[in-house]
C-alpha cells in the first residue's frame, strides 16, 4: 500500500470539511482585499466592522471545533468549555494590558489602570512575564491545558462520567466565574481587561492589524481543523469513539481509557485557549462573563446546531448561530430571542443531525485507510 501525503489523508472522505474551509478561505481572502484595497466610499469596500465580526466568528468557530472534538468524538459533554477559552483570552489580554504602558488614564507605566485604582503598589506576581508576547501566548495555551489536565486527571481517573462529568465542568467554570468576578483576584473583576492599544507593536486601531488578526484566526482554525481531523482519523480517534460508545468495554481490550480522554481533553482545551487569545484583541474586552455557564451552554448549542461529531459542522454551527444573533439583535431587537429560541427548537426537532445533516447522508464513521 502506498503512503499518501498526510494532508491528503486527513481530507480523505471529508468533502464537508473541504467545502467549509474552502468557502471560508475565499471569504477571508475577499474580505481582506476588499477592506484594504478599496477605499471607504467604494461599494466594493468591506468595512472594518465586518472584518472584526468575521474574526470573532472564526475565533468562535475554533472554540466550537475544540468542543466538538471532546463532545462529538469522545462523548464528554463539556458544559465548561468557555472556561478554557476565557483563560486563554485572559492570558493574552494580560499581555495586551501590559502593552498599554503609561497610556492609561492614570499614566502609570508599571500598572494597568484598574490596579492603580485598586491601590496596588506593584504588579502581582502572577502578572510577571506577561509583557513578553511569546510567554503570554505560551500561557494562553498552557493555562487552559494545565487546568484541563488537572481536572481531567482527577475526574477521568475517578471514572466520573456522563452528566456527572458535565455538571462538574459546569461547576468548574461557575467557580472560576465567581472567582474572577472578585476584584481581589487581580484580574479587573467585573470590568475585566479592556482598552487595549496595540499588539506586537501594531496599533489595534489600524485596519491592517485587524485584517492580520482575521487571517491569523483563519489560519488557526485551519490548523486546529487539521489537527482534530488527524486525531480522529487515527486509531486513537477510533478508540475515542469506542470510549464514547462503551467506555468499560474499551478497558477490557487493554486501552487505558483515562489517558485517551486526557489527551484529547487537553488538546481541546489548548485549542480553546488559542481561540480565546485570538478573540480578545478583536473584540477588545474580556470579562468574567465568558466563564458563565450560560456561555458554555450556548457553545454546546452551536455545535449541536451545526451537527455534532463532524468537526466542520461545529464551524458551520458557530457561524450560523452567531450570525443569527448579530443579525437579529440589530434587525429585530425586540423579538430576537423568539427567533433564536425557535431556531434551537426547530433544528432539534427537524434536523436531528444538525444543519450538516441536511446535506450529509452517508454515515459519519471514517473508513479505514
Amino acid at each position: 500500500m502506498k503512503r499518501k501525503p498526510m494532508i491528503l489523508k486527513i481530507f480523505e472522505n471529508d468533502r464537508g470539511g473541504q467545502i467549509v474551509l474552502g468557502v471560508l478561505a475565499v471569504v477571508v481572502l475577499y474580505v481582506t482585499f476588499a477592506n484594504l484595497l478599496f477605499s471607504e466610499g467604494s461599494f466594493l469596500h468591506i468595512s472594518t466592522y465586518t472584518v472584526t465580526l468575521l474574526g470573532k466568528y472564526l475565533a468562535f468557530a475554533l472554540l466550537a471545533l475544540s468542543l466538538d472534538l471532546v463532545w462529538g468524538y469522545l462523548g464528554i459533554l463539556s458544559l465548561g468549555h468557555g472556561a478554557f477559552f476565557a483563560l486563554g483570552g485572559y492570558a493574552w489580554a494580560m499581555y495586551l494590558m501590559l502593552q498599554i504602558g503609561d497610556r492609561g488614564v492614570y499614566g502609570n507605566a508599571e500598572l494597568p489602570d484598574f490596579m492603580v485604582f485598586m491601590n496596588l503598589q506593584e504588579l502581582p506576581w502572577f502578572w510577571y512575564g506577561f509583557e513578553y508576547p511569546l510567554f503570554a501566548f505560551f500561557m494562553a495555551m498552557f493555562v487552559p491545558g494545565l487546568l484541563a489536565f488537572v481536572f481531567g486527571w482527577f475526574a477521568f481517573k475517578s471514572r466520573v462520567t456522563g452528566v456527572y462529568l458535565s455538571i462538574m465542568t459546569q461547576a468548574l467554570t461557575y467557580a472560576l466565574m465567581l472567582a474572577f468576578f472578585r476584584n481581589d483576584m487581580g484580574f479587573g473583576g467585573n470590568n475585566g481587561l479592556t482598552d487595549f492599544k496595540d499588539i506586537l507593536g501594531f496599533s489595534l486601531q489600524d485596519d491592517g492589524t485587524r485584517v492580520l488578526l482575521l487571517i491569523l484566526s483563519f489560519l488557526a482554525l485551519v490548523l486546529g481543523y487539521l489537527i482534530s481531523r488527524y486525531i480522529i482519523n487515527s486509531r486513537l480517534g477510533r478508540v475515542a469513539m469506542a470510549i464514547r460508545d462503551g467506555e468499560s468495554r474499551v478497558r477490557f481490550l487493554g486501552y487505558r481509557v483515562e489517558s485517551f480522554k486526557l489527551f484529547i481533553f487537553v488538546v481541546s482545551a489548548v485549542m480553546a485557549g488559542v481561540a480565546g487569545a485570538l478573540y480578545v484583541p478583536q473584540v477588545g474586552i474580556i470579562n468574567p462573563n465568558l466563564f458563565s455557564p450560560l456561555f458554555s451552554i450556548e457553545l454546546v448549542i452551536w455545535v449541536a446546531i451545526g451537527g455534532r461529531g463532524t468537526l466542520y459542522g461545529a464551524i458551520i454551527g458557530a457561524f450560523i448561530v452567531n450570525y443569527a444573533s448579530t443579525y437579529f439583535t440589530s434587525a429585530l431587537p425586540e423579538v430576537w430571542l423568539y427567533a433564536l429560541g425557535g431556531l434551537f427548537v426547530v433544528v432539534t426537532l427537524y434536523l436531528p443531525k444538525g444543519i450538516v445533516g441536511i446535506v450529509k447522508k452517508e454515515k459519519n464513521v471514517t473508513a479505514v485507510s
Binding site: 462503551g246 478497558r251 477490557f252 487493554g254 479505514v368
Partner: protein
C-alpha cells in the same frame, strides 16, 4: 495502580504446556450481604480447555468479573502465570498481560464498523501516543480478514455493527477475542442463540485454540459442553461443587440435583 509493564512480563513466567496460568484462591465477594462468590478456589493450566457450568446465579460471570478486574473481591487471591497479582491491576493492565473476555451479553461498539471493531481489538501496543500514529500492519490486516471469514461476517465488514442481529453480535465478539490473541480466554456463554451447526463450529474454534492458549468456557448448553469438554468445573452458590471429567460430573448426584435435572 499503574502496572509496571516489564515486571509483569517477568512475573508471568514461562508458559509451558501444563504449567499453571490462572489461580483463583479463596475468593469471596458479597453484595449487601449476599455472597456471590464464597471462598472460590480453582486453577487453570496453560493450554487447557476448561468448561465451567453451574446454575443461574452460581457466580460464573461474577468470577470472570473478578479475574478481568471489573469487580474487586472482598478477600482471596487471583494470580496469573507465576506471580502476577491480578487484584492489584486495573482492567487494561489485565488485558495487557494477556487475558481476554467475551461477555455474556454481547458488547460491541455499535458506532464502528465490523472491521473497526476487530481493528480496535487487535493485539498491538495500546498506549495512546502509539495509537495516534498506528497503522495496520500487513499481517494484522490478514489476521482480521481471516477472522472475518471465520465468523462469517466478511460481507458485513464495512457495515456498522449496530445493525447486527443477536447471533451476529455473538460472533463478532468471538472474533474480537480471537484477534486480541490473549493467553487466557474467558468465554461466557458463546453459543447462546446460535443454530446447531454454528454451535458445532464454535466448539471447533475453541478446541483448536486450546493448546496454545488456555480457554475457559461457561455454558448451559450441555450438548455443547459434552462435545468439547475435557475437564469440567461445577460452581454452586459461589464455590466449586464438583470438578472432573464430563462423565463423573454427569453422574454426580448433587450436580444432577441442582443443575442438570431429570
Amino acid at each position: 495502580m499503574l502496572p509496571l509493564y516489564h515486571e509483569n512480563e517477568k512475573n508471568v513466567g514461562d508458559l509451558k504446556q501444563g504449567s499453571r496460568i490462572l489461580l483463583v484462591d479463596g475468593v469471596t465477594l458479597s453484595f449487601d450481604g449476599f455472597k456471590a462468590l464464597n471462598n472460590l478456589s480453582f486453577s487453570i493450566d496453560y493450554g487447557e480447555l476448561r468448561c465451567i457450568i453451574g446454575a443461574n446465579g452460581a457466580g460464573k460471570s461474577t468470577m470472570m468479573d473478578v479475574v478481568t478486574g471489573k469487580t474487586k473481591p472482598d478477600s482471596g487471591e487471583v494470580i496469573f502465570g507465576q506471580a502476577v497479582n491480578l487484584l492489584q491491576m486495573d482492567e487494561p493492565a489485565i488485558a495487557e498481560v494477556g487475558i481476554g473476555r467475551k461477555f455474556q451479553k454481547p458488547t460491541i461498539f455499535s458506532g464502528h464498523t465490523v472491521f473497526e471493531n476487530l481493528e480496535l481489538a487487535i493485539k498491538d501496543d495500546k498506549r495512546f501516543f502509539k495509537t495516534l500514529f498506528a497503522n495496520l500492519k500487513g499481517e494484522q490486516r490478514d489476521k482480521i480478514e481471516e477472522t472475518l471469514e471465520l465468523i462469517g461476517l466478511q460481507e458485513l465488514s464495512k457495515k456498522s455493527a449496530s445493525i447486527l442481529s443477536h447471533g451476529q453480535k455473538q460472533w463478532l465478539e468471538i472474533g474480537m477475542l480471537l484477534v486480541q490473541d490473549p493467553k487466557l480466554l474467558l468465554v461466557d456463554e458463546p453459543v447462546a442463540g446460535m443454530t446447531p451447526s454454528e454451535v458445532e463450529k464454535t466448539g471447533e474454534i475453541l478446541t483448536s485454540l486450546s493448546g496454545n492458549h488456555s480457554v475457559v468456557v461457561v455454558e448451559h448448553d450441555m450438548e455443547f459442553i459434552r462435545s468439547i469438554a475435557k475437564k469440567v468445573t461445577v460452581l454452586h452458590e459461589g464455590s466449586v461443587l464438583a470438578e472432573g471429567n464430563m462423565k463423573d460430573i454427569q453422574e454426580n448426584e448433587k450436580v444432577r440435583h441442582v443443575y442438570l435435572g431429570e
